[in-house]
Every structure is written in structure tokens, then in C-alpha cells.
Amino acid sequence: MEILRTIYAEDMEDIATGGAILGTGGGGDPYVGKLMAQQAIRKYGPVQLIDIDQLPDDALVVPVCMMGAPTVMTEKLPQGDELINAFRALEKLLGRKIDAVLCGEAGGVNSTTPFVVASMAGLPLVDGDGMGRAYPELQMVTFSMHGVSATPMVLCDDKGNSLVLETVSNGWTERLARAATVEMGGSALLAFYSMSGATAKKAIVRGTLTLCAALGQTLREAKAAHVDPVAAIVDKLEAKVIFHGRVKDIDRRTVGGFARGTARFEGVEEWKGHDFRLDFQNEFLMAERDGKVLVTTPDLITLVEAESGLPVTADSLRYGLRLIALALPANPQWLTPAGIELVGPRYFKYDVDYTPFFTD
């Protein structure tokens, strides 16, 4: 098998930084996941990143994820064996050996969690994920559009409890797993969406882990060379700067268990005199400039600090921060009718249709 890249403990720094950018304001801080991956790699060895085409069609591939409230994840750290236990339990349930680990969500904390399992299990990790970004719900993966079932799924907590789910739809998996996660103390770790190599070749968003690493590297090198980090990311990502401004109001409320809200910005420098509004539901989902909808999910909207280029989450938005908003094109799979139905603005109860921003 051809190895794309071997990931050592120190490489996790760049991956976590890139993962936070693809987190689009949500997804949880990758810091804790990065430390766990580094511990695992130091103890069990580096992770071999492979292209999905290296796997035979009949290979068995399993994604892993952390689920729950980002704030809980920074406070109640995992026991440490939850991910590998969920992974092993699912393997036992499926009755055959798993051949490779997959990333469920390349944005936020879950850009790092698959490295923990890949290192502990000594299995290759596929370069790709099910979102190309972060989303709040478990059924919001490209796998869903290819008929892959989230179940059988194994959910493990820090106490040693585990739960096996068999459901009628991925939407039901989300509902039941969400309730279980809350009972487990607000965070849980899971293995789900088992699929064949052939399915994975169609269903995943490719190259997103190497993209995370490249983004982190770009920021690190820009800082070392004292060049504009934001310009460096824009170059790397086909991204567009959509606003530069200062937070002038943040309105947060909890709707249906999600952190919903709106942040308003007033422009500075080249955007002086303009205003900007971001709607978020854990992740940034819709951007309006001067009262006109500009970018919506599934395209990515991310906020970075002007000076450092470091990403800023919706949770840490505060009055007066001066930030740059970037738009990044979504993976084309999300732009199909099925994709828009799953993660378009209407699913999140915004009364607008998906507005294509990148039209080349």
C-alpha cells in the first residue's frame, strides 16, 4: 500500500490549526483532540495517511467521532479508551476486521480524533472525511447521500458505558444518540457509518486531512516569515475575503439544544461604511453584507483574526473583536439537490434558498 504521508506527533499541530479553520466557527476546539492524538502517537507509533484509492473495494472502513457540547469537551476530558473501545465493539458486531479508519468531520475537534484510533489500532487513516467542514448533526455527512447507514453504531462514555444503536434512519440516529450523549454527561465517543472501500471512494470528501495539515503549515510559515497570514490562507484555499470588520453586537439564544445566534459587524478599512451579519447555529451558516444574503451553507464561512490568521469560534465571539470573514467553496457533493436538502439554509430554518457564491 502506498503511504501518502506519515503523521508524527509534531505534525498534529498543523492539522489541529487547519481543522479549526474548517470548523467554520463550531466543531469544538481541536486542542484536546490534538493532545490525545499526540499521546497516542508517542505511545503506539505514527499514523499512515493513505489515499482512498489505495484500499480494495471490499475493504471495511469505519469513521470515528466525538459528539457533544464543545464546552464539555474542554472541561471533562475523555478517559482515553472510549474511541478504541467503540471501534473494537463495532468491529466485533460487524464480525470482520476493519481495514482502515476514516474521519467523520474534518472541522474542529474531529479533525484530530481519528488519529487516536488509527495510532492505537495500528491501521491506516484515509485522507478525507464526511463533511469537508463541520456541521452540528450526525446525519449531515456526505455518506448519508450515498445510502450509508449510521448504524450499527457504538457510543462509549468515560465511565465505561457503551450503547449499540440500530435505527431506521440517520435522522433517528441523531435524535437517539443526542439524548444518550446528554445522559452520558454531555460528551461521548463513537464509531459508526461502516462502509466498503467501494462506497467510500464515492461517498467521502477527499483530501481534507492533508488540506488541514497544509492550512496549518501555511499559517505557521506565514507567521515565521512575517507575511500576511490571511493572504496566505486565501491563496491556499481559493477563498475570498468577504468582510473585514469589528463585532458590534452578538445575540445568542438556545433553540432546540443548539447555540443559535447572530453577530453583527461594522466594516473597517476597505469595508468602512458597510455592515455585515453572520447567522450561526454552532457553525457559521449564513453571511449577509449590507442587508443582502451573500454566502450560505453548504459553502464555508470562517472568521479569522486579522493579525494572526487564527480562526475564531462562534463561542468566543466578543464585542469589539476585529476579524476577517472568509468564504470557501463547499465540496460539490453538497451542491446537489440531496446535499442542499440535508444541509442547505432551509434545513436550519433560514428562509432563503442556497445562494451560489462561487460561480466560475
Binding site: 493532545l35 499521546q39 464546552t71 452540528p136 469589528r246 445568542r252 438556545t254 439544544g257 478599512e269 468566543s316
Partner: protein, 515 residues
């Protein structure tokens, strides 16, 4: 009210004496190895300069970088046991997991995991196990460790386990210094635990340093109370500071920026504090320093303190000036406090920025004849280099194209002459002792960071409860109740959790109660 503000830095101990809002006198003295002698010298000097008697002084406020420097330089730190309550959760990442190896070794890397901890909603992860804690206490005793940091999962929501464990350790290890994480940090286990451990390892030093301050004040004949300034520019009393030295970590830049705002009367500006070795640049918003948004590291350790967003460059009054084939370089090396013997103008042999400024005729300092050999071209090119370094860092701290003024303070302010990058420069009176002024004008604060279930009590009631707790905390810290105002309210819904679980942070600030 007569108050004295003191800033104890690595090189200088500065003091100012103020009557209400008027600065009567400001002086500089050298910091001494025992701390106390330097403070006594500064106090005596400032009293003499003011013509006031020691008995007239109502209160003394001290800002110090002593504890930050101890961590950064890995010196005078005690062996410390880090006890975490949360098993079976949290075992994946033990205490000090992300610390620099040298610092971890300096304090012994004594991490212990035990049962305890709460869930986000207050449920118990596992009950406290007294026998387990007594076993840890026995091990701590056998190792001869006297400083303990206790961190329980979600202790900002419920601190009962930390308190109970603290009592068990206090009983088993009489005289041990015990730090509870819930008393100093906010939600974010590793960052709060890091702060608790750093605090615990500074407790021996803080007992020594606070005693030195106390003795210095008594020796000078001052009867008034004394306080230390903390990260956010507010005060804590000496007994509290001795227990929580970690809360002084960012007081240096905070005091110089607040002092700059006060002395200049300008509330929105960029502040450049030029010392002997470095220049710190930050921005002022409504009289307070702009806070950093990302996690701040101290000595390589991640914390979640609120600290000013300050950018430092290696440019000061003692910076080396060297001509190379690529042109003139200034800093980052410096003669530091040895400037008084090593700079050319003071009869030394090292060319510094101060020498060039004196040669240019911009300052009266030392013996100008010692720099008469510098050519006009060399002087001009060095000044251009200094100007471009200052322009660069001021530009980085600018938040808008609006023409904000630049306030220049600190002992190295002679390096600045005229506008920086087209921005007006203000050098207020007493600019050299702005830090000490910042200490003298500090206020008292109280802070609360809790998770509320809004489904049970409603948002208004939760906010009122938090405001009340913050106000009480400020009053307990010495604020005059009628002057206490809420300065910061923040509520963040905890995603994915039912019952509208919301994290509320409130900060209250008031004037110091004297009398």
C-alpha cells in the same frame, strides 16, 4: 486620600505618591535581590521627594512582575503535587501533559488522578474516595512536597469536591500550601489546572515576597494597608495575593497601559512602553487594555487568564547598536540594567541606543563627549532604524485607520522624538513611572463564571444571581459597595445541552474602600 503606587520590575523599582488624582512625586530605584531593600529605597525616595510624612499615606499598591519572571526563568519554584478529581474521566491527558519539559522537571512532575468531579449539570461523575486521597497524601508526604494544587472536573459549577479534598489534605499534611482551581480559573480543565499548579508552585516564593513588601512598608513607617495589582488592573489585598500569586501574571503591562491612559487623559490610544531591553506595545480602549482573544501562554504554559494583548520587540534604552555589512542592527541584545556602567556615555565600552540619542543631542544623559566620535551619517541611520522598528510594531497594534495617538511611557522613552508612522505622540508627565501610576489607580473587582440551567430559573434571574455574586465578590475583595458597577456580562448557551444550560460570566469593579 494619599496613596503610593509601586512597580517592582526585574530592573527597576518605581514609586509614585498621589493625592487623589494628582501625582505629587515619582522616583526610580534599583530592584534588589532581596526585593525588600529596593522597595524601602523607593519608598524613602518618593516620600522625600513629596515632602510628605510616612504617616500621611493611606494605602500602598504594588504591581510586580516577580512571579511571572520566576516562572519564565524557572527559579524559586516549589515541588508541587497536582491532584485531579475526575476519574474515570480525564485519564487520557494527565496533569502538565502540555508543559515544557524543563518546567515540568523543575517542579517535579508529580501528577495524581483520583475519583470525584461533576458533570456540566452538577451530577457527580464519581464520589470522592477518602482512602484514595489519604494514600496520595502519604505519597506527597514521603516525597517531602509542601505545595498542592487540586482540580476537580466542572469545579466552576460545583466546588464542593475541591473543598472536601482540600480539607482532607490539610488534615493529613498540616502546613501544606493548598490551591483550589475553582478559586482562580474558569471553565477549561487543562488551563484552569495549569493556573492552579503554577499558583501552588509559587506559594513559597509568594510568602517570602509578600513578607518582604510588608516589612519594607513597616520599616518606612507607613501604617496604611497595602495591596497588589492583578492581571486586569484591579487590586487584591496582601493576604489574598500571598495565596494567589498567579493572579499578578499580567499586571506589568496592564499597569503601564492604565497608567499611560491616566497620565495622558487619553482613553483610546496605542501605548508603547519602552524599557531597557524591550518595548511592549498594546492598545487602549476606554482606558482599559484590549484583551487577547486566543489562549495566552505564560512561560510556555497555556492558561485562560484574561490578559492584555501586548506585542513585544527587542528595542530598549540599553539595546546594542551594531554596524554590520547589511546595515545597522538594533537589539534584541541589551546591556539591560548594566547600562549605568556599560554604555559609552557612562564610561563603558558598549554602544547602545541611549548613546546614539545623546550623540544626536536629543537627551541630556551621561557624558556626551564619549560619543563625539559617532558620525552624523551613523547617527541618522540608527535613528531611522529605531523609528522604523517603532512604526512597525505600532502598525501591528492598530485596530483601525483612525488616527489614534501613541502614548509613550517607560524609562526608554528618550528613543522617541516626534510622530511615529504619522501618528501624534504623547509623552505625559511622569512617563518614566507610568507602571507605578497604574498600580496607584487600580480598582477592586469580583468575577463569576458559572453554568445556569435557564429552563429552571430563567435568564433574568440567572443574570441577577451572577451579578449579585460578582458584586459580593468585589466587596469581599475590598470594594466600596456603592461604587461597584458591573463592567462585563457575557452569557454563552452550551450547545447541544437541554434545559438551556448557559455559561454566565460577570465582572464587577469598584473603588477601593479606605478608612
Amino acid at each position: 486620600m494619599i496613596r503610593i503606587g509601586i512597580d517592582v520590575g526585574g530592573t527597576n523599582t518605581d514609586a509614585v505618591i498621589m493625592d487623589g488624582t494628582t501625582v505629587i512625586a515619582g522616583v526610580k530605584a534599583g530592584t534588589t535581590a532581596d526585593v525588600m531593600t529596593g522597595v524601602v529605597n523607593a519608598l524613602q525616595k518618593v516620600l522625600a521627594a513629596s515632602g510628605l510624612d510616612a504617616s500621611a499615606v493611606d494605602v500602598v499598591m504594588i504591581g510586580t512582575t516577580h512571579f511571572t519572571n520566576a516562572v519564565v526563568q524557572r527559579r524559586d519554584l516549589a515541588q508541587t503535587a497536582a491532584v485531579r478529581l475526575g476519574l474515570p474521566a480525564t485519564a487520557s491527558l494527565p496533569p502538565m501533559v502540555d508543559w515544557p519539559e524543563d518546567l515540568k522537571q523543575t517542579i517535579g512532575n508529580h501528577g495524581y488522578l483520583a475519583h470525584g468531579g461533576n458533570e456540566f449539570d452538577g451530577r457527580i461523575i464519581s464520589p470522592l474516595d477518602e482512602a484514595e486521597l489519604l494514600g496520595i497524601a502519604a505519597d506527597i508526604k514521603a516525597k517531602g512536597i509542601n505545595s498542592i494544587a487540586i482540580t476537580s472536573v466542572f469545579s466552576p459549577v460545583s466546588s464542593d469536591f475541591e473543598k472536601q479534598a482540600g480539607e482532607i489534605f490539610a488534615k493529613a499534611l498540616p502546613g501544606a500550601h493548598i490551591t483550589l482551581s475553582s478559586e482562580i480559573g474558569r471553565i477549561g480543565l487543562l488551563e484552569r489546572e495549569n493556573a492552579a499548579i503554577m499558583n501552588a508552585c509559587l506559594r513559597d516564593l509568594s510568602a517570602h515576597v509578600i513578607e518582604a513588601f510588608r516589612k519594607a512598608i513597616t520599616e518606612t513607617g507607613i501604617k496604611g494597608r497595602f495591596y497588589l495589582t492583578q492581571n486586569d488592573g484591579t487590586l487584591m489585598d496582601a493576604a489574598f495575593a500571598e495565596k494567589f500569586p498567579v493572579l499578578t501574571f499580567a499586571s506589568g503591562p496592564t499597569n503601564s497601559m492604565r497608567g499611560a491612559a491616566f497620565l495622558s487623559g487619553v482613553a483610546d490610544a496605542i501605548v508603547v512602553d519602552i524599557g531597557g531591553t524591550t518595548s511592549d506595545v498594546g492598545s487602549l480602549h476606554k482606558g482599559f487594555p484590549r484583551q487577547a482573544t486566543v489562549a495566552v501562554e505564560v512561560g510556555g504554559v497555556r492558561t485562560n487568564f484574561r490578559m492584555p494583548d501586548v506585542f513585544s520587540i527587542g528595542l530598549g534604552g540599553g539595546s546594542h547598536v551594531v554596524e554590520t555589512d547589511k546595515g545597522i542592527t538594533v537589539g534584541p541584545t541589551s546591556v539591560g540594567y548594566r547600562i549605568v556602567t556599560e554604555a559609552l556615555i557612562f564610561g563603558g565600552t558598549t554602544l547602545t541606543t541611549s548613546d546614539v540619542i545623546v550623540a544626536a543631542g536629543r537627551a541630556e544623559l551621561g557624558d556626551r563627549s564619549k560619543v563625539a566620535h559617532l558620525t552624523a551619517d551613523f547617527i541618522a541611520r540608527t535613528q531611522d532604524k529605531i523609528t522604523s522598528m517603532l512604526e512597525d510594531c505600532v502598525e501591528r497594534s492598530r485596530l483601525s485607520p483612525d488616527p489614534l495617538p501613541v502614548i509613550v511611557v517607560g524609562g526608554g522613552s528618550i528613543l522617541v522624538d516626534g510622530p511615529i508612522g504619522g501618528l501624534e505622540v504623547i509623552k505625559p508627565n511622569h512617563f518614566a513611572v507610568a507602571n507605578a501610576v497604574g498600580a496607584a489607580i487600580a480598582q477592586v473587582s469580583g468575577e463569576v463564571d458559572r453554568v445556569y440551567s435557564l429552563a429552571e430559573i430563567g435568564r433574568d434571574e440567572a443574570l441577577n444571581d451572577a451579578k449579585q455574586r460578582a458584586t459580593d465578590a468585589a466587596v469581599a475583595a475590598g470594594a466600596l459597595r456603592e461604587t461597584v458597577a458591573i463592567v462585563d456580562v457575557e452569557d454563552v448557551p452550551l450547545a447541544y445541552l437541554p434545559g438551556n444550560a448557559t455559561r454566565v460570566r460577570v465582572k464587577a469593579v469598584g473603588e477601593l474602600h479606605v478608612g
